[in-house]
Symmetry: C2
Subunit: 156 residues, 2 copies
DNA sequence: TGACACTGAGTGTTACAACACCTATCATTA
DNA sequence: TAATGATAGGTGTTGTAACACTCAGTGTCA
C-alpha cells in the first residue's frame, strides 16, 4: 500500500479539510515528480522548463513562434521568457529571427541541435514515465487526469 | 465542463501516453494552485515554503525542531534550509537556540510573531481552498488524494 | 589517545525567477 | 500628420534556489 502524505511529512495532526488534504497532495506529488524530471534532464544540459520550450517549438517547427506565444503555451508560469530564450540561444538549442514585416516580432525556431536533444530524450522520458506511473491502470490514470482538470477549473 | 490541458496549452498533437497526460496534468495543476497560493501569502510577507515551515514548527511548538527535521517534513524539497531559516529569523518569525548538551544541534522555534501570521492566515487559507476546490465533492477529493498517493509511490 | 568517520550546521558561488520598468515598432484617429 | 495607445520585446535589480564544499562537535575503536 502506498504511503500517505501525513506519514511522509510526519505530520501529527490530521488535515483540516479534504480540500487541504487534496491541495497538499497535488503540490507534493508535483514536487516529487518534478524533482525526478529535473534529475533526468540534467545530464542533457537542460531544465524541465527548457524541455517544455523545446517541445513547444518542435510542435510549430515550420512557422516558429514569438516569445509570448511560447510563454502562453508553457506548462508552468514563466515570466522571464526573454532571458530563458537567451540562454537557450547561447546553448544553440533555438534561434531567433526578427520579422521584416512587423519589426516588433521576433520569431523563435528550434535548431537541429535542439531537435537532437529532444530525440535523445524521447525514449528516456517515456521509459521514466512508465517506471513512475506504470503501476497505475489506464482507468486510474484517466480518472486522475479528469479530477485534476476539474481541480484547476476555478483557478485563474 | 472544465477545460482540458491540451486546450489550455494549445497543444495540437494528442499526448503520447496516458502516463504523459497524467504527469503533465499533475505538474500543471500544482503550478496553477501554487501560483495562487503565492499571491495569497504575499501580503503577509511570506512565501509558500515559509508558510510550510511555520506550520511545521507550530506542530512542534513545545520542543522545537532542528534544521534537518524541518527540512525532512517539508512538502517540497528545500536544500538550503539554513538560509531560509536565517531570513525567517531576520523577519522575527522564528528563533534558534544552540543546544548545550550536543553543541552541534540548533533548535528552531516559532515565535509569537510567527504564530500571529499563522493565525491571521488561517481563515484566509481555508476560504481560498474552498473557493478553489469547493465545486468538488468529498468523494472526488478523496479519490484524487488516493490517486495522487499512488502516483507518488514509485518515486523516491 | 589519536585517527577516523559521522552528524549537524553553515558558507561560497552561480545561475535563475520574479517584478517592475523601459524601448521600439506599429495602428488609430483627432 | 502628430499625438495617443497598443503591442512585442528587452533590461535592471533583487532575492533566492541549487550545488558543492567547509567547519565544528561527537562517537568509536585500533
Amino acid at each position: 500500500m502506498a504511503k500517505e502524505l501525513r506519514d511522509e511529512i510526519q505530520q501529527p495532526k490530521p488535515f483540516r479539510s479534504t480540500y487541504e488534504e487534496a491541495m497538499l497532495n497535488i503540490v507534493r506529488t508535483a514536487s516529487i515528480l518534478g524533482d525526478d524530471g529535473s534529475q533526468l534532464f540534467k545530464p542533457f544540459g537542460i531544465t524541465a522548463a527548457q524541455y517544455n520550450v523545446l517541445r513547444i517549438l518542435k510542435g510549430s517547427e515550420a512557422e516558429g513562434l514569438c516569445r509570448n506565444a511560447v510563454r502562453d503555451r508553457m506548462l508552468t508560469r514563466m515570466p522571464d521568457m526573454t532571458r530563458m530564450l537567451d540562454r537557450m540561444e547561447d546553448a544553440g538549442l533555438v534561434e531567433r529571427v526578427r520579422d521584416s514585416e512587423d519589426r516588433r516580432h521576433v520569431t523563435t525556431h528550434i535548431t537541429a541541435a535542439g531537435k537532437k536533444v529532444l530525440k535523445d530524450l524521447e525514449g528516456v522520458v517515456a521509459e521514466r514515465q512508465k517506471k513512475l506511473l506504470g503501476h497505475m491502470t489506464e482507468k486510474e490514470l484517466k480518472a486522475l487526469t479528469e479530477l485534476l482538470t476539474k481541480a484547476r477549473d476555478r483557478a485563474r
